[in-house]
Each structure stands twice: as C-alpha cells, then as structure tokens.
C-alpha cells in the first residue's frame, strides 16, 4: 500500500525507463540540429530517420510517409485543415463521427466557420458507426472521411477496414485518429486503405509532445506549420530529436510485446468488468464488449456522480477518469456517452479505468474493493437512490 494505482493510461502513460535512457544522450551529447552539415548533426539526423523507418514498418507504410508532429492534436488539426484547404476545387464536405476526440470535433467546428460542411455520423449503443449511414452521407463534394480507429472513452474499435474500402471506392481520402489504438492493436495502412493517420507518443509509454501524421504518398495536402524545410518541407520547426528517439524506443518496445501485453490486459480488464458487474448493483458497461481496446473498461454507476467518485478514489491513491460534466468544465457530460444514448444522469455517473503494461491483478482487486465501498457511500448520500428505493418498496407493497 501507499503506492499509487494508476488506472488512467488512456489519459497518458508512464514513460518506460528504457525510453528515458534512450532519450538522454540526445539532450547532452548528440544534440546537433539535424539540418546542420557537421558530423554531430548527422548523428541526430540518422537517428531521426531510423525512427521514421521503424514507425513506417509498424504500419506497412513508407518512411517518407511519416511526418513527426508535436502530438495527436497537431496531427488531427493538420490532417483536417490542410486537406480542406488543398482540396477546395473538389469539394467542401467532410464526414466524421459524433464520438471523435475534441481535436477532431473542434477542428470541424472551426472548419464549418470557413465554409466546410460536416456530417457527424451517429453510433449505436456500443459506439460503432453504421456503414450504410456512412455510404448515404457521401456526396460528390465529399473530400475526407475521418473515423477514429478506437474511441478514447469507451474503447470501442471502429470498422476502419470497411470505412477505408468505402472511401477508396468513392475516391475520398480516409483519415483515422489512431491516438488510442496505435501500439495497442495492429493497424496496416495498406489493408485498411488509410490515407492519413494520427498517433501520439505519450499514450504508449513514450514522451509527451511528440507524435506523427502518416500521409500516403500522392495525397494532396499542404503544410500546417510553415517555416524551415524540415520533414520534406511539410512540417517546419527543428525536430524534437529526444522526443522522436523516445517515441521510437516506445514503439520498439510496445510493438515487441504487443500481443502478449494485449492478451494479459484483456484478461485483467475482463476480470475487472466481471467483478464490478457481479459485485455492484445498478451498473452498466459502456462500449462494445468484444470490439474493444484491451486496456479499456468504462462503467456507469446509477444514482451517483463521477467527480465525487474520482475524488474519493484519489484519496485512496487510485487514478481514474470520468465523463461527468463536473470533470469537463461544462454542464453537459461526455459527448461520447450521450452519443451512445445514455441519459444525462447515467452519463454523469461514468468511470473509466484504463490499464497499462504494469497493472497487476492485486491493483485491480484493490480498485474493485475501493469502488464498491465508495459507490455505496455515495449512494447512501444520493437523493436519487433514496427515491429509487422508496419507489421500489412501494411497488413491493
């Protein structure tokens, strides 16, 4: 005891020690600017290109199709804004989903003000899009379909291979936000006909502030950050060399043990979900039961509110997250939970637990015990629970 139980790996992850070790020399020894001509610079330049090749291999892409960015949000912004700008002669319509990350949704809102038309696809109660609805949404002016590989809140994996096929058939670019999925499940840009893909380092035990955008060769897209000639003139700014090296090490380690890690996490996650469902009444699981990221569990506890639950878990040194309004700074709970059809009061009582490679069964057991105790404590305090019990006992009479 006394140790933190970290179950918020979808928010960010702990950097693996090997990743930190790999990065350090690039701060103090091989610190040269990769654009310079001297030998010192060539060492960092070739290291950066090594990571580019390594990442390309994980996606079945070519090294020159990988562009380093400052992270997932920049990659999403770049993909959407620059595709819109570069393809105006073809059209101004983008199709995306209601459950995308805000890096996509708020970018779409911005683009709508610039004359872009956006269709937001619905999802079913498990968070999956409907491919027929996608096909019906396609117009002659559609330039881009952006569907996330897997959802960050409820863990649902989208049918991106089918989306890619539909996009290809219609000659429309396909972008996928793979920030949560990259390093968790295998993704092939060839097999899924992906034209653009966003990913981030800190979700797979790498450093924050580094990510990449995959752009298929031939895709019509301009720069997002203007300036120097880095990244083949497409993304200016001196390369974040230590970040790129760290990302590379995290990808190397993350892909080396992906299958066994995924099996282990799936087992632990299922154990967590089974225990909660069996031992806590009036609870539901959010997201698809099987088409789901290995490390994601998401529950809604009736009659209680998520922020209180998080604070009480924090007092027991358990880190988790919620889609309640109080944690989002607005009055509305998570757009994802509303999109899967949850009523507001059920969405307010949501709890997301996301596992990592270091998560143990003992930690899961401790968390389950804490959740049981806290949920009961909060229900005893809740007027909704009181009303529910009264209604229930009246019915029995």
């Amino acid at each position: 005891m006394g140790e933190i139980i970290y179950l918020d790996n979808a928010a960010t992850t702990r950097v693996r020690p090997e990743v930190v070790d790999a990065m350090i020399p690039y701060f103090t020894e091989d610190y040269g600017n990769p654009s310079a001509v001297y030998n010192l610079a060539s060492r960092s330049r070739s290291a950066v290109n090594g990571v580019r090749e390594q990442i390309a291999a994980t996606l079945e892409a070519k090294p020159e199709e990988i562009y380093f960015t400052a992270g997932g949000s920049e990659s999403d912004n770049w993909a959407l804004k620059a595709i819109f700008e570069a393809n105006k002669s073809k059209g101004n319509h983008i199709i995306t989903t209601k459950i995308e990350h805000h890096a996509i949704l708020h970018t779409c809102e911005y683009l709508e003000k610039q004359g872009c038309e956006v269709t937001y696809l619905n999802v079913d109660e498990n968070g999956r899009i409907n491919l027929e609805e996608l096909k019906r949404a396609i117009r002659p002016t559609t330039i881009l379909i952006s569907v996330m590989t897997a959802n960050n809140e409820i863990g649902t994996i989208e049918p991106i291979k089918k989306v890619g096929e539909i996009a290809k058939e219609h000659g429309i670019y396909f972008h996928t936000d793979a920030v949560q999925a990259y390093g968790q499940i295998p993704i092939s840009v060839e097999e899924c006909h992906i034209d653009l893909l966003s990913a981030s380092g800190h979700k797979l035990n790498g450093p924050k502030g580094i990510g990449f955008l995959y752009v298929r060769k031939g895709v019509k897209i301009g720069s997002f950050v203007h300036g120097g000639a880095q990244e083949r003139r497409r993304r200016a700014g001196t390369e974040n060399v230590p970040g790129i090296i760290g990302l590379g090490k995290a990808v190397e380690l993350g892909f080396a043990d992906m299958q066994e890690r995924s099996e282990r996490e799936t087992k632990l996650r299922d154990y967590l979900m089974e225990r909660i469902m069996a031992e806590v009444p009036y609870v539901r699981i959010n997201g698809d039961r099987t088409k789901r990221l290995p490390n994601n569990a998401n529950f809604s506890f009736q009659f209680i509110e998520g922020e209180s639950l998080l604070i009480m878990l924090d007092m027991k040194k358990i880190c988790a997250s919620s889609g309640s309004a109080c944690t989002s700074g607005s009055l509305d709970p998570s757009h994802v939970l509303l999109a899967i059809g949850l009523p507001h009061e059920i969405a307010h009582g949501s709890l997301r637990l996301t596992l990592g490679y270091e998560t143990t069964k003992e930690e899961i057991d401790t968390a389950v015990e804490a959740i049981k105790e806290i949920v009961q404590k909060l229900r005893d305090m809740s007027p909704l629970y009181e009303d529910f019990l009264k209604k229930h006992s009246e019915k029995e009479k």
């Binding site: 305090m381 007027p383 009181e386």
Partner: protein, 146 residues
C-alpha cells in the same frame, strides 16, 4: 482544486440523511446537469431549526456545500436561515473554484425550498421568502450552450 475545508466536508459530510415527518423538505437542481440537493428540516414551535439533514447527488463541491449549509442553519430561526446566502456558504468553506460557484447557489436554493415547503405545510408566510424555482439550471443551461 478544493480548499481543505471543502475536502473535509466532502470526506466527512455533516448531517447526511433523512428526517422522518420533516417540517419541511426541499429538492433543487436536476440530474441532467449533474446535481440534485435535498434538505430536510425539523422546526420547533418557536420557528427554530432543531435539525437539518441532506442528501445530494453531485460533485465534491455539491456535497460540501450541502454539508456546510445544513451546519449553518442548525439552531437558527427560520428568519435567520433565510438570510444565509450562497456567499456565506462559500466563505464558510474558504471559497470554491469559479466553476463550482453554482453549487453554493444550489445550497441557498435548497434552504429556501425546504423553508417554502415548511411554510406551505403550516399555511404561514415567511417574510422575504419567494416560491423557489423548480430548477435553478433552467435558463442557465441555455445561456451556456451557445
């Protein structure tokens, strides 16, 4: 994010529970916005609040303000309780983050709603007490969702 006092009242809330055959009960807020507060009052023949209890569905601040509100009105007369504002509740808690100020308004509303119920049950009028709004977030939500 929260002051020590808020955390204390959240972790060890005072006066959680119900009062059977309460002199007045008031429920405010709505589940849609994520907080509901219910205050129970036990008021004696001299219009003194002998006891107050609460039940709250909501965030840490909602629980803490309910707890503090019930503490502040216990032992007070109905007239004195009516004078307790959301500012008084906030000050007693050493402040709230700006996004949580509405929780203290909810606490003030809950006091008023329970007093209103007491007045209705006893067919009396309490000077200065207006009929509570059914839902304090009505309107507020519309303003914010622009």
């Amino acid at each position: 994010m929260y002051s020590e006092k808020v955390m204390d009242h959240f972790q060890n809330p005072r006066n959680v529970g119900e009062i059977e055959n309460a002199s007045g009960v008031g429920t405010v807020g709505n589940a849609k916005c994520g907080d509901i507060m219910r205050i129970y009052l036990d008021i004696d023949e001299n219009q003194v609040i002998r006891d107050a209890k609460f039940k709250t569905f909501g965030c840490g601040a909602a629980v803490a303000t309910s707890s503090m509100a019930t503490e502040l009105i216990k032992g007070k007369t109905v007239q004195e309780a009516l004078q307790i504002t959301n500012k008084a509740v906030m000050e007693a808690l050493d402040g709230l983050p700006p996004v949580k100020v509405h929780c203290s308004l909810l606490a003030e509303e809950a006091i008023h709603a329970s007093l209103w119920d007491y007045a209705q049950k006893n067919h009396i009028t309490i000077e200065g007490l207006k009929e509570p709004k059914k839902d304090i977030h009505e309107g507020e939500e519309e303003e914010l969702s622009v």
